[in-house]
Amino acid sequence: MMRLNSVVNNGKQCESVLTACVSLFLLFYLGSMPLFAESDIKDGTNESEAAHSLIQNQETTNASVLPAADYKMSDEYGDISEEEIGETKIDIEEKLIADPLEPFNRAMYHFNDKLYYWVWKPAAQGYKFVVPEEVRGLFSNFYYNIKAPVRIVNNLLQGKPGYAAVELLRFLINSTMGVAGLRDCAKDCFDITGRDADFGQTLGKYGIGFGFYVVAPFLGPTSPRDGIGWLVDWTLRPTTYVGDPDEWFTPQSVGLYVHEKINQTSFYIGDYEILQDAAIDPYIAMRDVYVQYRRKLIER
């Protein structure tokens, strides 16, 4: 403390030195602890960098085998090689999902699509009209906060006790200072951000694949793995036990879930329409978004 004071007393120009010292300290201190989401993102990029350098190595070896004239194209509308566009057979197979139920899934896709335009969307629009944005924001915070057990348990199961602790801390702060989770005070007041986690993701981290693609009525794109994940997470949601603690699905727990979804949809009206509008085959577009998004969450 004395030392710090003497530095401060040296005058204004030392202020930056002090800041530097503090930031250095923070850098080492925080860098060694898995507290914030950034460290996780970095993990992800390192992995992908490694993967890319692997691909790059492959590319260079392939390129040296190919005759130079075939590999390099002067005309931009000329032929291409697989290597040039970074597409190998392994790449393609990794990005696909088995879809043995396609006829059923397509039917369910159309069912959910109609459900969206006839039920969810008008409900969300009416709801949006009646309930002010601030209040919808409070609901959204509330539902996110109350699902903390899902994130705590799954962060633990994924071998991330640091994040489990942060999620617990966030839950405690938001449930008290954030008034029962209506405000995300942990983030707004203390800048503490957590890490979302679910059981489907946990299973994925353990090396379990999608299995195959399933479009569930009402719930949308999923797979046996993520479906089981959804059920396990459902048992971890405190709202599940609101009506009857012995029953998993009660009018109360399902009702709360429906409200959560309508509240959420009210912020994203129009996004589904864009996906539809932009797609050539919306069914495949949606399936691919599901696969890419879930895969990314597991790689992270």
């Binding site: 530095v7 850098l27 931009e76 597409e87 495949i284 998004y293």
Partner: protein, 200 residues
Amino acid sequence: MKILYTGLILALLTVIIVIPDCVYAGVPLDTVKSNANDVIDILRDPKLKGDSGKKIKEQKIEAAADKLFDFVELSKRTLGINWNKFTPDQRKEFVGLFRNILRDAYIDKLTSYTDEKVSFVREVPLSENTVEVQSIAEIKRGNIPINYRVIKKGNEWKVYDVVVEGVSLVNNYRNQFREILGNNPPEKLLETLRNKVAKK
């Protein structure tokens, strides 16, 4: 004074540790940033309001998008090896149609954006001539990671793929087109695209 020197050395160390991130923010990031900011500036231009303004706005965005994206590269990577099944004329037509489909789908959403804050975070090399520029868009309900994959063509860096929340635009379309081209000739896909563009 000794403490001051220690502090200075520490500060220098901090600079050495922290700076690589800043130094590395090189040409690809700057290019994407400035070209993307051009689009944002047009979106926010208060002079371009109302119905007449909207037309000019859309034209300006299109011009800015042509500067930002390399639609030929984007098309090649979307079609994958199927690109070679197309004749050069079909390839040219495909690039034009695909560009229009993307424009029609996203321009309405784009023009409704006015107050999103986008920060460009870092760039990660993907291969010898490709780089991923990572950015974060702050919206009301949280942050969305948006990554632009850029390729060096001559002296220019141009975007050939956009990855939002881990979902790559190119991969998404590639799977759709592969399914169609698995059972049909290129002409069939072009016809589907023509019909889609004409409907707008």
